[in-house]
């Protein structure tokens, strides 16, 4: 099997890596790009632990061939912190204790970021619906939804100031 070259914009940087033709995006991002925050949970697109932001949309990277990342703009949790400043979502997840074991957290934060990037003032119901593709077995979700609501407020204030 011949490897293919993948060029992508990863967390704002231009990156290049070699992937096997059958490789999934989650495997390429973890093993070639070193993005260990992208977790493999179920491998069949049911749990959302592998959620990344792909061209502005939250997607399950376990269902995506690595080849599809070529030319794409990709965000992972590693890219949330900017200039040593945590993203409001990270601050809010910590403040609300929305993280217990932490395995699902990067996926939730990616999904939440994709939502807030497009819809800065979501209702609680919209947040709840948007996160329904991600499973958390520890928290019962309440703190996660609280955290996303809080982050959206902080981001709005930040944008206004």
């Amino acid at each position: 099997m011949s490897e293919i070259t993948i060029t992508l914009t990863l967390n704002g940087e231009s990156r290049e890596g070699r992937a096997l033709p059958a490789q999934t995006a989650v495997s390429f991002l973890r093993d070639v790009m070193g993005q260990k925050s992208v977790k493999e949970g179920c491998g069949i697109g049911e749990c959302g632990a592998c959620t990344i932001i792909f061209n502005g949309k939250a997607v399950n990277s376990c269902l995506m061939p690595a080849a599809q990342l070529n030319g794409a703009v990709v965000e992972t949790t590693e890219g949330l912190e900017k200039n040593g400043q945590p993203h409001p979502l990270q601050e809010a997840f910590v403040k609300h204790n929305a993280i217990q074991c932490g395995y699902c957290s990067p996926g939730f934060m990616m999904n939440a970021k994709a939502l807030l990037d497009h819809s800065p003032s979501p209702s609680r119901e919209e947040v709840t619906k948007a996160l329904a593709g991600n499973i958390c077995r520890c928290t019962g979700y309440q703190q996660i939804v609280d955290a996303v609501m809080d982050a959206s407020e902080v981001m709005r204030k930040g944008a206004a100031s």
Binding site: R30, D31, Q35, K36, S37, K39, E40, G41, C42, G43, I44, E46, C47, A49, T76, T77, E78, L80, E81, P86, Q90, F93, V94, N97, I99, Q100, C101, G102, Y103, C104, S105, P106, M109, V127, T128, K129, L131, A132, G133, N134, I135, C136, R137, C138, T139, G140, Y141, Q142, Q143, I144, V145
Partner: protein, 759 residues
């Protein structure tokens, strides 16, 4: 202690930021890309003799390094937390679908898979027994040589027959609960290597590294010094990471190959090869007098142990001991049978048998309340354990009995929900509203067995303080709680303390992160160690500051005079002084709650030193046409003894309610049907109710700062509360979990609601 600085405060977990940054390294993140891949060949049948295994073709495939079978295991080929009946690699026969027959080590995942396909096993099928009641029948095929009954626990006191004869009201019912998969988000994973000093080192997700160490060293026939288990960041467990998963395979391959290896289960393998919550068949008969006071409980429990024991013996005892519910019941006759079948083995799953039995005893309470026209909160209040009560085990309880307070906390919510919310128009005409309560009790720590924890705290000559604990934080937050306790005693913010945890090289045994025991038991061990260090520092400071000890206090790495705080000496100087004098810089603590074994014939003794209590209320809407149950709100009052970390407790409660709701409505593991997240349904954000946590503090005298535990109590009352609420909505009771769409619809039809809508 009312002026606590750190106890009862909402502090940040020491490792939460690395998780928020995506930097926390789970076992699958630690393994180098070029290490060998391990994969087990699973039986793929319920019960069969192995006539022969031929690995020659598999071993010749490109990229395949070695295929191991049972003959390659140098030591004891048996694992199991209580009884060692579970082969690491099968010998002679397999007893369940997920049994490992051979282990492949290969250069790549693909080569490993190819090798699995190339291993030739000749089988002779044996009759499969998938129902424990059949396994108990005369002449049933023997799953283990000793027979199919693994264990029988009897708890008996008083005279139930006389009590039933005199009773005002008797209810006799049968209940059934399903297999439950833990569904921790991180599939089991580990990697291992031979360290430079010849120690087999395993970094793995686990709830108990020191248990892993013992079983792996026995399996390898090596002294414990030759094995090191390091808990990697662990993505949940809920009891499913107490048994050995990949540890033994990794040790075996590292021992023979002297190369780094990894074994990551995929989700399906995690479903297939790890333990489940026990299904139970519960026949229960209870009686009350005219005031609703419980007189007797007679109960027979049959538990599907699956193919191997795991924690099954403890599950049987815990279910039996808790079968009365958190109530004063003078006459009891309880029997629990733990039975082998050819199903996936069952073991610990958040509650150790108590979620099952709570479903039964809390349904009974509502049946009595309905018959007597009593309010469900009131009947529980009248029966709640109070100081001086004697349990079914004969244990007299005196302290920290917080159920009445939990009930009082829930009562106004319940009254309001029944009086107002339940009478309002539901969100759709085909929906009916119901409100239910569930109560529970939970013995903290292992059942009728000593279960010590140990800890150390050390100060170095620069004054830095490090807590050492074997306790595995699997996301529940024990690391934070232990540091809060040490910080409180030392007058140091927990953020400024260092922590070394769950590494068998640097820490000593803390026992399992299970049985809701770490706050209580390891908390005590840490407090005892810390208190002796504090005492040593104060004593040295007397000499150095020329101030009496009772006028000294610890504050932010100094000892200072209370009446003149500027008169102080730093921890660093005191530690240098200790070192100079040859006094210890490291201090140890251990704690082992007082229990006694239970008598085999009637289960009398002291199974636990303390009990946690709770009451939850659920408000539900039931769609009579679809069977859908929409849980709107859960109020959860929990007696935790003392709230060390309220924010963490609230998290445990909300998470417990989610798992409890899944148990009530959604979840059921069936071999061959629900072996992945496609078919095994979990609640998501849109399914969850509003959860209102209420913390009740009935001080436990033997607890650290008065604390008990929360991990398991948080989910135990949820399913009973939901089932009782469904009963109120439909006027029809559900006797088998889960209350799935089909079962609820059936109940709706039986109650005539479905027909009323012309369905």
């Amino acid at each position: 202690m009312t002026d606590a600085k750190y106890i009862g405060k909402d502090l940040i977990h020491p490792r939460i930021w690395e998780k928020a940054r995506g930097e926390a390294l789970f076992a699958a993140d630690l393994a180098p890309a070029d290490c060998l891949v391990l994969k087990a060949l699973r039986a793929g049948r319920h019960h069969a003799e192995i006539v022969s295994i031929d690995c020659a073709a598999a071993e010749k495939l490109p990229g395949v390094v070695r295929v191991f079978t049972a003959a390659d295991i140098p030591g004891r080929n048996a694992m199991g937390i209580i009884n060692k009946d579970h082969p690491v690699l099968a010998v002679g026969k397999v007893r369940s679908w997920g049994d490992a027959v051979a282990l492949v080590a290969a250069e790549t995942e693909e080569a490993a898979q190819a090798a699995l396909r190339a291993i030739k096993v000749e089988w002779k099928e044996l009759p499969a027994i998938l129902d424990p009641r059949e396994a108990l029948a005369e002449g049933a095929a023997k799953i283990h040589a000793e027979g199919n009954l693994l264990y029988k626990r009897v708890v008996k006191r008083g005279d139930v027959d006389a009590a039933f004869a005199q009773a005002h009201h008797v209810v006799e019912k049968s209940y059934k609960t399903p297999f439950i998969e833990h569904c921790y988000m991180e599939p089991d994973a580990g990697f291992g290597y031979m360290s430079d000093d010849g120690v087999i080192t395993i970094e793995v997700c686990t709830q108990n590294p020191h248990y892993d160490l013992g079983d792996v060293s026995a399996m390898m026939g090596l002294p414990e010094e030759k094995i090191r288990v390091i808990q990697a960041v662990t993505g949940g467990g809920f009891g499913g990471k107490l048994d050995i998963s990949v540890q033994g395979y990794i040790a075996l391959a590292v021992h023979h190959l002297k190369r780094p290896v990894r074994y990551f289960y995929n989700k399906e393998e995690a479903f297939l090869a790890t333990c489940k919550r026990h299904p139970m068949w519960i026949d229960i008969k209870t009686a009350v007098d005219k005031d609703g006071k419980l007189l007797a409980t007679k109960c027979r429990i049959i538990e599907d142990g699956g193919a191997y024991g795991s924690y099954g013996i403890a599950v049987a005892t815990r279910a039996a001991v808790h079968a009365t519910g958190p109530y004063d019941v003078p006459n009891t006759d309880i029997e629990a049978l733990e039975v082998y079948t050819n199903n996936t083995f069952t073991g610990a799953m958040r509650g150790f048998g108590t979620p099952q039995i709570a479903f039964a005893y809390e349904s009974q309470m509502d049946l009595h309340a309905q018959a007597l026209g009593l309010d469900p909160v009131e009947i529980r209040f009248r029966n709640a354990l109070r100081p001086g009560a004697i349990l079914a085990t004969g244990q007299q309880v005196e302290h920290s009995l917080g159920l009445p307070d939990c009930l009082e906390a829930v009562r106004p919510y319940y009254n309001e929900a029944v009086a107002k919310w339940a009478k309002e128009t539901p969100s759709s005409p085909s929906r009916r509203r119901g409100v239910g309560v569930g109560a529970m009790w939970y013995g903290v720590g292992n059942t009728a067995a000593q279960n010590p924890s140990t800890a150390q705290i050390a100060i170095d000559t620069e004054g830095a303080v490090t807590v050492f604990t074997g306790c595995a934080d699997i996301g529940q937050g024990s690391s934070l709680v232990l540091l809060q306790m040490a910080g409180e005693i030392l007058g140091i913010h927990p953020d400024k303390l260092k922590l070394v945890s769950a590494d068998t090289k640097f820490t000593t045994n803390a026992g399992a992160s299970s049985a809701s025991r770490q706050t209580y038991i390891s908390g005590n061990a840490v407090c005892i160690a810390t208190a002796s260090m504090a005492d040593m520092l104060l004593t040295r400071a007397v000499d150095r500051l020329k101030v009496a000890k009772d006028d000294l206090e610890l504050h932010d790495f100094t000892v200072r005079q209370k009446s003149k705080p500027e008169h102080s000496i730093s921890f660093a100087k005191l530690a240098q002084n200790l070192h100079h004098l040859g006094l210890p810089l490291t201090f140890s603590g251990f704690f082992d709650p007082v229990t006694t074994p239970l008598t085999p014939e009637d289960g009398q003794g002291v199974p636990y030193a303390t009990y946690a209590f709770a009451c939850q209320m659920a408000q539900v809407e039931v769609d009579v046409l679809t069977g859908e149950v929409d849980v709107k709100k859960v109020v959860a009052a929990h007696d935790v003894g003392r709230a060390i970390s309220p924010i963490n407790l609230a998290g445990q409660i909300a998470g417990g309610v989610a798992i409890g709701q899944g148990y009530a409505l959604l979840e059921e593991f069936e071999m061959g049907t629900t072996e992945s997240l496609k078919d095994y349904h979990l609640a998501t954000t849109t399914d969850m109710p509003e959860v209102v946590p209420i913390l009740v503090e009935a001080h436990e005298p033997s607890g650290p700062f008065g604390a008990k535990g929360i991990g398991e109590p948080s989910l135990i009352p949820t399913a009973p509360a939901i089932v009782n609420a469904i009963d109120m909505a439909l006027g029809q009771r559900i006797y088998a979990l889960p209350a799935s769409l089909e079962r609820v619809l059936e109940a709706s039809k039986a109650a005539g609601h479905f027909d009323k809508f012309g369905g």
